[in-house]
Point group: C2
């Protein structure tokens, strides 16, 4: 998680200076004009001051993509040159596990529920394909793209629907869904419509994070329940292993975030917690005797480089009946809508406000690329890859060089009246393409026979544990939970300097209730055959936040409760700049973050 | 855990005043002469100023017991009158579970390893017998007496030894062991030799607590391993249930110790965590379907009020061959030595320094009573009850009326520069006999048919969980772990006001190593047939602490690292007063405690 410096200079600061000092995030730095500020281009990408026909985004197709490429291309060489640090190694290992394990976990789910159409080979191929393309060509190579739980939900829900009519056409139908989706991706990216992502605030991204967390926890339980169909012994052993795996990774990451041992030891624990946990518990299940004798389900692997089912890689999509081709269109639209939100939000959280990024991203260009991977994956019968929401900030975080600083808060009066605590600041983020590319090569390597056999030794219970780790990470660090905790805390002990303290409790409860309704609606719909409709719900939260929510809250309250998910100018530059509706929102939000200090990002936690 | 007051008066104090104010424990109060100071008797119980033959304890038999009774008897009526508060209800429920569940857990262990001689009926009978006698006649009715894990260790080790020669004589042999032990109890109590317990410091009581914690964890694992002999399904389900039970009780107690919700809600969580966890997870195992179908082992119950084996209650001890009668003598001595340390230390921790007790105890008289219960239990073939080490402070704690105070630490400079935290102070302890007596009646009730049948529905896995809760409680709160944590903590973040900071790290490590060697030796011996020798090792730690340890440490260092386990004058009065060797030891120790504030006692945690 970062080569933490061992600087011993105690920062002798009073509490007020602590608050004002806080953490040197992009935001602060940006104010100082040191980092995160692009050299002002002569014609910045913006629509704010355009008049006449020039105001209409679709009349100037590709303008966003052109700016994205022009903005990022100058950094291409440095994306390779900057990678020569230890961070790259640790980050590659961490993101390899954080990408691979959940992808395999979702695949298990998909495999079972799509009649065995999507298997491990497809998932690996899709992950590797996306990783190669985005690491080499992406405008923001930090955003990791892969197989997510939501596309798995999509795939098996469509399977359920298609099965009602003609199960045999499922491969072609999915292919056409992908083709339509790809076309719409291209329309959106050429139409410069990614701009609306600048309106994404924590209101919807927290709700989305919570939704994803809950879905993952449910999936973990489902995996374990399914194991019981093979017999109670398998089921109970899997439960035990999943619980212990979760406890191990969670515990190691807690120690990594503590003040025990030296900074480098903590750093190692945090970087390799996933790897340690996985290796240990996979080995555990193979201890000869009682454990090995149970033969709990392992990951189902097939011949390397061949599709799981007996088919050629290319799906004969041209053979599909015309009526089905057009029936796939609305599904394609929903996939695009899902990716529009999911991919862009994961990209936003990977570039969220706490990371002092200096290199620009490019949302339009990346969304165009996503259309390409969607198309290719579609015609090859792979699960469609897109941005990994809970893991997205983990990559940036693993590339961050942390500085573990000592903060001494002097308390008035008395000798030795002081409180010592750790303040983590991010010195810099190693922004480059190499980790992403090496991870891609790792995934390709994993597709080969010998390594595929290693995957075949991994019990399904481990993946249930992975679901728990990723899901709980997304829930535990969620802003919704923080607000809930604030409401539950006994009033006397609430920190008065927390800006939330100034907001009436009823308002906080209302805000939380609105988010909770959104989450509950999404979770509920996900359990039905209408599951594929949830992107509509999620996307509806953005205009709801800007149009309806302000009726019930004052501007100050909203400024405290909510904030742009990414407010770094290097990010917003690609989205046409900061929304004019913002007001003084971010000033207040920054204050809260300062008071709390920086938290280390856990695997699976959405950016805060 | 205490009807916490909801006083809202924020104590505006600086850090120095916080330190000096600390918590209103017996110690502080004692200095003010408010509580914890007995009315000075005309002839205090002391041997310090005696001369001539009057110096020799054994020449004035029963002097300690006489003083004990004389000192406590005046409080007898108030022991009943003081009981009419809500605390009594909560405490009775809590201590009933904290006594019953572990006792049953140890019984499972004993039952398996003594050829089924000691069963549930014997354990309940022994617990009830001891509880009735000590609640009605004990000089310190707060000390809970029952069946411990160590006597279980004793019983099955003796079974192993006797089985080498003549398994059939085991009942009579145990009976004679008890008779000899009882006689030695009476000799010790008449000879006033409990006085040496005033030399017990945290050095040995922490080591003992750690030893007990480790043994309990091992026992929990052993129970689970044994479940595998019935089949892997039983084993894995038991593992799962034990882990989840542990997580539940631990989690509830954590919330109970937090600042969430109102004080009374936290109080309920802390008071009934054990009860909630037990009821929920027992019910869980009976959910029809996969769970119920496994039929994991339940507590083996037999006909109510009858011995587990087909025998009369009275053991025909007069039929034992004379050579075996005398062979039992050294075993009796070891039992006495175990109880001398175990019972007295549990009594000390029940009256430890953090509790502002006002009523005196009586070690000599209680040890005499323990001889009586040993004798009766012995001839009835019951496991011998004695003081429950990890649970002892829990009773006192559950009788404590906590005040949850807000402490505001002002940090220099700035508006709102402050830190708010909870400081728990014990307003008073409801010192009385009623909880102990009602618990005794509850145990007798549990022996009846209907309730015994309820016990018969409890899966053994719950008891493995109980072992984990009690064992981990004893380890987590142990002073050894705190010192270890201090050594592991990165140097920058160590609190400078912690007195440990002034002790060289090497010295702390040496001190810890000495304790660890003691613990390791005891744990190692416990796994062998020489297990019954461990009381010798434990008791040897006391003179070792006073004779040898001072060679390696300065007086100041020892004063910081160690302290009397109980230093309240109402306690020490029964032991002949404070040891003259003490010096200024307790001043320093108090400072550390103040800096840390009061912790809520968890079930199974030894007093700190």
């Amino acid at each position: 998680m970062a080569s933490t410096s061992q600087t011993e200079t105690p920062t002798q600061c009073t509490s007020s200076s602590l608050r004002s000092r806080g953490i040197a995030t992009a935001q602060d730095a940006e104010k100082k004009g040191e980092i995160g500020e692009l050299p002002e281009p002569k014609d910045p990408y913006s629509w704010d001051n355009e008049v006449g026909w020039r105001r209409f985004r679709f009349l100037r197709p590709g303008r966003g993509m052109y700016h994205d490429v022009r903005r990022r291309l100058p950094y291409y060489w440095s994306d390779i040159a900057d990678a020569w640090t230890y961070r790259t190694v640790a980050s590659t290992v961490r993101i390899y596990f954080a990408n691979l394990l959940p992808a395999l976990a979702y695949t298990l789910d998909m495999y079972r529920r799509t009649g065995g159409f999507y298997g491990v080979n497809e998932a690996l191929f899709a992950s590797a394909l996306a990783a190669v393309i985005f690491s080499l060509l992406g405008a923001q190579p930090i955003t990791i793209v892969g197989v997510t739980g939501l596309i798995s939900l999509f795939n098996y829900t469509i399977y359920d629907i298609v099965s009602l009519y003609e199960p045999s056409i499922y491969p072609q139908f999915m292919c056409w869904t992908a083709i339509w989706a790809a076309i719409m991706h291209w329309i959106v990216s050429f139409g410069n419509w990614c701009d609306y992502m600048r309106y994404v605030t924590d209101f919807s991204s927290e709700a989305f994070g919570m939704y994803v967390g809950i879905i993952y926890m449910v999936k973990g339980v489902e995996e374990l329940v399914d194991e019981f169909t093979r017999g109670s012994t398998d089921g109970f052993m899997s439960c035990m292993v999943a619980l212990l795996f979760f406890g191990t990774v969670y515990g190691l990451e807690k120690v990594g975030a503590s003040t025990l041992f030296a900074p480098w030891t903590r750093s190692i624990l945090a970087d390799y917690a996933y790897a340690f946990g996985t290796i240990f518990w996979v080995g555990f299940c193979h201890i000869p005797g009682t454990l090995k004798d149970v033969h709990i389900t392992k990951l189902p692997i097939t011949r390397a480089f061949y599709p799981t089912q007996d088919r050629s890689w290319l799906i004969p999509f041209w053979e599909l009946n015309g009526k089905w081709v057009f029936a796939a269109l609305p599904f394609g639209f929903l996939v695009m809508l899902l990716f529009y939100y999911d991919h862009n939000v994961s990209s936003l959280t990977a570039q969220a406000k706490q990371f002092p990024l200096k290199k620009p991203g490019g949302f339009h260009w990346d969304f165009f690329l996503l259309g390409c991977t969607t198309f290719v994956s579609g015609i090859l019968g792979l699960p469609l890859p897109n941005g990994l929401v809970p893991q997205a900030p983990v990559h940036t975080e693993s590339l961050s060089e942390y500085e573990s600083n000592l903060t001494i808060i002097h308390t008035s009066g008395g000798d030795r009246g002081e409180i010592r605590k750790q303040t983590l600041t991010i010195r810099r983020v190693v922004e480059q393409r190499v980790t992403h590319l090496v991870m891609a090569l790792g995934l390709i390597g994993t597709m080969t026979g010998p390594l595929l056999a290693v995957l075949g030794t991994m019990p399904r219970a481990i993946f249930a544990g992975v679901f728990f780790v990723v899901g709980w990470g997304s829930i535990e660090s969620n802003g919704m939970l923080k607000k809930l905790r604030h409401l539950m805390e006994e009033h006397r002990f609430l920190a008065r300097q927390n800006p939330l303290f100034d907001v009436p409790r009823g308002k906080i409860a209302l805000y939380l209730a609105l988010q909770a309704v959104g989450v509950a609606a999404c979770v509920a719909i996900s359990q039905t055959i209408a599951a594929i409709g949830f992107p509509l719900l999620i996307c509806a939260l953005i205009p709801f936040r800007w149009k309806t929510v302000p009726r019930w809250f004052t501007t100050e309250e909203l400024a405290t409760l909510d904030a742009l998910t990414a407010d770094n100018m290097v990010v917003l530059a690609s989205l046409g700049g900061r929304p004019k509706e913002m007001g003084g929102m971010d000033e207040r939000e920054g204050r809260e973050r300062d008071a709390e200090g920086m938290k280390r990002q856990r695997v699976g936690s959405i950016a805060q």
